[in-house]
Symmetry: C2
Subunit: 114 residues, 2 copies
Amino acid sequence: MSNNNLIKGSLQTIILKLLEENDRMYGYEITQKVKELTAGEIKITEGALYPALHKLEADGLLTTEIEQVDNRVRKYYSLTKDGQKEVDNKMAELQGFVENLQRILNPTWNPGLT
Amino acid sequence: MSNNNLIKGSLQTIILKLLEENDRMYGYEITQKVKELTAGEIKITEGALYPALHKLEADGLLTTEIEQVDNRVRKYYSLTKDGQKEVDNKMAELQGFVENLQRILNPTWNPGLT
DNA sequence: TTATATACATAAGAAAATTATGCATACAAT
DNA sequence: ATTGTATGCATAATTTTCTTATGTATATAA
């Protein structure tokens, strides 16, 4: 995935947004969901995902519940209240950045069309 | 600019695309152009820009001409043939990534609308 | 003479990835 | 039997790509 090296900076937003939509998810599930939504084009690596989840939890945006499923451990993450607020902030930031990017790279682009 | 920390990975593409449109530009001019196009929301820092320009030149994508203008030195950059080819690759890569991002973050989004 | 603008550049440090590795269970294939 | 693939967690070493700070130099406005 040559595309993959562009995730930089958007992973936290992806995690928060998916958790807003899905209530609770575990790490591996997040990697599969992203793979599914992007037809396999974006693959979240564990080395990026787990440190990011731990940081969001340390920042008080996520909480965890550990569960046993089929003799395997799953660590479910869900949004805290602070986390729920942050989703909107991060989403606005990222969409704003993407709009600016389009203004630079695609001069004929009209922001009203997103 | 809290937005600024999201550039990661797209700076090279921005430089190449601006040079495709403007034939030749010098570093400071690029920073001003980006600032202008984004209403001051994205500011390219010198610490990011100059190393990026040097790398693109080392990779054979850009060539330089140094000129004296009003007792000041300007280093003009322009695309090489390899550089001209790379513009399309990088643009497709970035636009593809943005589309995938929208698929993850904005489930109702339709790629035909860009 | 101080601040701002123009114009280049590099060095130190931080952030956020990739790549590699490790542990553990389950199931399919050779 | 044992090798590969999938599920599920995690961390360490390294690399990429920024930010922040610093340096040099000229010009102009306050």
